[in-house]
C-alpha cells in the first residue's frame, strides 16, 4: 500500500516540480507552490514522518506562499503608488 501510494506521489511531485518551474506567471506560480508544498507534506505523512509533515504544512503550504503573496502585493502596491504620483492631478 505504502509502495503504491509512494510511487504515485513521487511521480506526481516530479511532474509538478517541472510544471512549477515552467509556470511563468508569478501569481499562478504561487498557487502552484502551495499545491506543491501540500504534495510534499502528503508524501512525508505517507513515509512516516509526521513531524516534518506538520512543519511542511505550516511552512511549505502556508507560510511560504503567504510570504510570496505579500511580496508581490507590496510590489504591486508600490507600482500603483508610483503610477498615481506620475499622474498630473
Amino acid at each position: 500500500m505504502t509502495a503504491v501510494l509512494g510511487v504515485g506521489l513521487l511521480a506526481l511531485i516530479a511532474v509538478s516540480a517541472l510544471a512549477l518551474v515552467r509556470t511563468d506567471d508569478v501569481t499562478c506560480q504561487t498557487m502552484a507552490l502551495s499545491f506543491y508544498g501540500l504534495l510534499l507534506a502528503l508524501m512525508f505523512f505517507v513515509f512516516r514522518a509526521p513531524d516534518v509533515a506538520l512543519a511542511q504544512i505550516t511552512v511549505g503550504a502556508i507560510a511560504l506562499p503567504l510570504m510570496v503573496m505579500l511580496a508581490i502585493t507590496r510590489m504591486k502596491h508600490r507600482e500603483a503608488r508610483r503610477r498615481k504620483e506620475k499622474e498630473p492631478s
Binding site: D51, L54, A55, V59, A63, L66, M67, L70, R74, H77
Partner: protein, 257 residues
C-alpha cells in the same frame, strides 16, 4: 550571455550533474532498506534516557540540539536581515529616530466582509492560539514541537487581518514586544545551554530532572527549549509579515479621513 546560450550551457552541465547523481544513487541501499545504526540506536535510547516518546524531538532538541541552536539563529539572522532590508527609508539618514510603524489609529476598511465570516475567523483565532501553544509544549510526546507551534501562533494574527480587524492586527504585530520576544527566545535557548555549563556539565546537557515518560513534564530541558523556540519562531514570522505589510498598512491609515 544570451538566454539560449545560457540554456545550452546549462543543458551540458545538467547532463553531467545528473549522471554523477544517478551513478552515485545506484550504489545506495535499495529504497526501503534503511540499515544505518545511528537512527536505530537513538530510537531505542531516547525513550529510556530522555523519557520522550517522540524521538524526532529528542534528536532535534537534545542529541543534536546544537544543530537546532544554529538553526534558530539562522531564523534570527534572516528576520534581522528582512527588517534591515525593508526598513523605512527615512530612517537611513538619522538612525536614532524611532521607527515604529505608527500608532494603531482606528481605521476600518469600507468594503467589509460579511459578519459571519468575520465572526468565524475571529473564533478560529482563539483555536489557532491554543493549538499553537499546545503543539509547542507537547513536542516531546506527539508530533509537533516548538517550530511547528510557533508558525501556527504566527499565523493567528494573520487571521485577524483576513477578518479585516486591521486595528487589532496592527496592534499585535507592530508592538515592540514582538521584537523583544524574538531576540529573547533565541537568547533563551542559548542560555539554557549555558545553565548546564554553569553547573559544570557540557553545553546543552539536560539539567532539569526527568519525569515519567508520557507526561508533559517528562523530558527536562526539551520542553523548555521547545517553548523558547516556539516564542522565537512565532515572533520572528510575525515580524517578517509585519515588515512586508508595513507600507500597505501605513498607507491605508493615511487614506482614512
Amino acid at each position: 550571455m544570451k538566454r539560449s546560450h545560457r540554456l545550452w550551457l546549462f543543458a551540458v552541465g545538467a547532463l553531467g550533474m545528473g549522471f554523477v547523481y544517478c551513478a552515485g544513487a545506484r550504489n545506495l541501499p535499495p529504497w526501503g532498506q534503511y540499515r544505518g545504526p545511528y537512527g536505530d540506536a537513538i530510537a531505542q535510547l531516547a525513550v529510556y534516557e530522555r523519557h520522550t516518546t517522540d524521538t524526532v524531538n529528542a534528536v532535534t532538541y537534545d542529541y543534536r540540539g546544537f544543530d537546532t541552536l544554529g538553526e534558530e539563529f539562522i531564523l534570527f539572522s534572516a528576520v534581522t536581515g528582512v527588517m534591515l532590508l525593508l526598513r523605512p527609508e527615512k530612517q537611513d539618514s538619522g538612525g536614532k529616530r524611532d521607527e515604529k510603524g505608527g500608532n494603531p489609529a482606528s481605521f476600518r476598511d469600507r468594503a467589509a466582509l460579511s459578519e459571519t465570516v468575520q465572526m468565524f475567523t475571529t473564533a478560529i483565532f482563539g483555536f489557532a492560539v491554543i493549538f499553537g501553544i499546545y503543539m509547542a509544549t507537547h513536542g516531546q510526546l506527539t508530533p509537533g514541537g516548538g517550530f511547528q507551534g510557533g508558525v501556527i501562533l504566527a499565523a493567528a494574527p494573520m487571521l485577524l487581518y483576513i477578518a479585516e480587524n486591521t486595528e487589532a492586527f496592527q496592534r499585535i504585530v507592530s508592538h515592540p514586544l514582538v521584537e523583544f520576544l524574538e531576540g529573547a527566545g533565541a537568547a533563551g535557548y542559548a542560555l539554557i545551554g549555558m545553565a548546564a555549563l554553569a553547573m559544570g556539565a557540557a553545553f546543552l546537557t539536560n539539567v532539569i530532572p526527568l519525569g515519567t515518560t508520557g507526561d508533559v513534564f517528562s523530558s527536562g530541558t526539551i520542553a523548555a527549549i521547545s517553548a523558547c523556540v516556539g516564542v522565537e519562531v512565532a515572533a520572528g514570522f510575525t515580524l517578517i509579515i509585519f515588515e512586508y505589510l508595513r507600507e500597505i498598512l501605513s498607507q491605508k491609515k493615511n487614506e482614512e479621513p
